[in-house]
């Protein structure tokens, strides 16, 4: 892999949460929240991580941010392993990587004013709060579209959208390289959601941020992402360029997921794939392909053998080199792809 362009490289990342139970409260079983994920995020790119609740997407985000210790696997930032850092080293890492959370109310200290919330980072990292005579906090507030008088206010005095702006200001305050956005707009109203999406787009362009966008909302992911990875029960089932995934989803789960988004246009009618049942528990994932219990195309092999991510042959626009080709490739983990002819013309959006 080309080290110049890949900022973040995940290799076989696993995160199991032990469940204690039984008479002596011994370790009974594991919840396999993330079960062997490999991904690459390149510089200045946005990778959208999509999946339903419980698929492990937030856990993966937290693993990358160093909030959870990995069970197995490595995470490399510019080729340097960051998955087993000590707390002092983590502090240095946080200068380069920041997180935006879903609920802007829960993630801001309600007893601190906006100024205190934004100052905290400069104090922790012992950095000057003035650069070339300009107050950093004023500059930040301006950047995220908050008035100067917001400094002295408390989080509860703001609306959801404004609180999310404070959260974003806090995340970008030390010029990080990578931002992990965990459901940044799902708690917001439609009209405010678009304001925040615009802000994220503008900031990313301006600061050259590399983003990991975690969301269940496929239309949001599509709008912001260059690449998309679809997760199901702790595993990546499909990755590829955003347009390639949307226009030609390969995995039956991705197909169902895309077909399930209601289109805000009554004139567009589409054949909807309605999946049966719910996501099984990650405590006890089904054997073989984890999706086989809900898959409309499940075969015998799916119940026994776990499919691996395989490249789907095809040409993709904008490929320049071999490295590129590897990165741009559309991959899916499904037995169907290797056994059956995939109808490339079938479109789901």
């Amino acid at each position: 892999m080309n080290l110049d362009s890949s900022v973040l490289e995940l290799n076989g990342v696993k995160k199991y949460f032990p469940v204690h139970g039984g008479i002596f409260l011994g370790r009974k079983e594991d919840v396999r929240a993330v079960d062997g994920v490999s991904l690459v995020i390149r510089k200045g790119e946005t990778l959208g991580l999509v999946g339903e609740s419980g698929c492990g997407k937030s856990t993966l985000g937290r693993c990358i941010a160093g909030l959870y210790k990995l069970t197995d696997g490595t995470i490399k930032l510019h080729g340097e392993d960051i998955s087993r850092l000590k707390s002092g080293e983590l502090k240095a890492l946080r200068l380069r990587m920041q997180m935006i959370f879903q609920d802007p109310f829960e993630s801001l200290n309600s007893r601190h004013t906006v100024e205190e919330i934004l100052q905290e980072k400069y104090i922790i990292h012992k950095l000057p709060q003035k650069k070339d005579g300009i107050d950093e906090i004023s500059a930040l507030l301006q950047k995220v579209g908050l008035p100067e008088n917001a400094r002295g206010k408390f989080p509860h005095e703001f609306s959801g959208g404004q609180r999310q702006r404070i959260g974003i200001a806090r995340a970008i305050s030390l010029d990080p390289e990578i931002i992990i956005c965990d459901e940044p707009v799902s708690a917001l109203d439609v009209s405010v959601q678009s304001q925040i999406l615009n802000l994220l787009l503008a900031l990313q362009k301006e600061m050259g941020l590399t983003c990991l966008l975690i969301s269940h909302d496929l239309s949001v992911v599509r709008h912001l992402s260059d690449h998309i990875a679809v997760m199901y029960l702790g595993k990546i089932v499909e990755t590829g360029r955003a347009e390639s995934i949307y226009e030609n989803p390969l995995h039956p789960y991705t197909q169902a997921l895309i077909s399930a988004i209601p289109i805000p246009d009554p004139e567009v009618k589409r054949n909807r794939i309605i999946l049966k049942g719910d996501i099984p528990s990650p405590r006890n994932p089904p054997p073989g392909c984890r999706f086989h219990t809900r898959c409309p195309h499940a075969m015998d092999i799916c119940r026994k053998q776990e499919p691996i991510l395989g490249e789907f042959p095809g040409k993709y626009p904008g490929i320049k080199s071999d490295e590129d080709e590897k990165h741009e490739a559309h991959m899916a983990a499904c037995h169907l792809l290797f056994n059956l002819h995939v109808d490339k013309k079938r479109k789901y959006i």
Binding site: S194, H223, I261, P264
Partner: protein, 425 residues
Amino acid sequence: MDESAPSQSQRKNSMDESAPSQPQRRSSMDEPVLKVKDLVVSFGTEGGKKHLRAVDGVSFEVKPGSTLGIVGESGCGKSVTALGIISLLPRPSGYIEQGSVLLKASNGMKTPNGMKALNGMKTSNGIKAPNGMKTPNGMKTSNGIKAPNGMKTSNGMKTSNENSGYIELMNLDSQGMRAIRGKRISMIFQEPMTALNPVHRIKKQMNEVHGLHRPSMGVREMTAKSLELLDQVGIATPENVIECYPHQLSGGMRQRVMIAMALASEPDILIADEPTTALDVTVQAQILDLIRNLQKSKNMSVILITHDLGVIAENCNDAVVMYGGRVAERARVETLFKNPSHPYTRGLLHSIPARAPSPGTILPAIPGMVPSLEEMPKGCRFAPRCSHVGDICHKISPEEIAIKGDHGHFAACHLHAGETGTGTV
């Protein structure tokens, strides 16, 4: 049940000013099952000193067997409207200040050919005070909330001709309302975990519903009925689910149980308040599909409350867009998406990423945010965020105006002043 027996002599006797295309030929099939007229719901705050109108003059009609969508952002009054219809407002602070909610009398009591006159709707309803003698849901008179104005309750409307064949829900006492609620109009809520009782098994909760509506039923019969209902809502193993506690079920399953309970008495109208907001997309698709199929098979009307325009586009026949407690626009769904006429509706549609011309473009967002009820602007409530705002918008609150060229399309915006489209929804 508190119903006025409609009489044959009360024929439609005058023309509607907005002249619908076939004024007299409205068969009873097309008659709306529910007519909400100028509904005003207020909340008393600060010990009854202040009154805030959460819903301010909302009118719409629900046609039989069709789905009406109410869409808007949080705080626009869409849920309060629904709670007002079935008198489930939080007491004692919430009350219906004025307005009328007319429910079509059930089949048995209906006159052969519907005889709804379309005129004079405005004169109909009496203003209701929370402590008037007709308390719609047994509201206490002691709570010190004073209705701001007029306390007359006119009962005369029950016999007025345009409403014959309809029951005025606002005139019902709590017992009368109970007979309607659950039986004729059922409701399902956003978070089924809070709507289900966590300490009782599904069986007990479902049987309770049957017991309330048909006290003569035996336990075995009730359970059989419950199992049948669970089967209808697509639960694969009803025998297992019925023995579960709510926490043992997934979100989608809980919502199915809620729907099964709501369907227990075969209601004419199902009000679904954000039924899929707490669910994942693939489960949302299942639940919406289920509601659609049940609606078809039972010829039920549905009021679907949501913030998602995609859900509206795919599931509804008619839509009401609400903003700040008022109706901004209402129309057939196709019309609404093709020819959005209120700047708010247009803004909403443009700001959805799914409708962006291409991914990654800056979305034309609506600036600012929804004002709180306390600081609602005087004139048009959308004026501070509107890109077409004029002087008049800050002074006068716009009335609903029929949009030219579209049938049954109304927008409350001064931009359309002077237009006379074909009225009647």
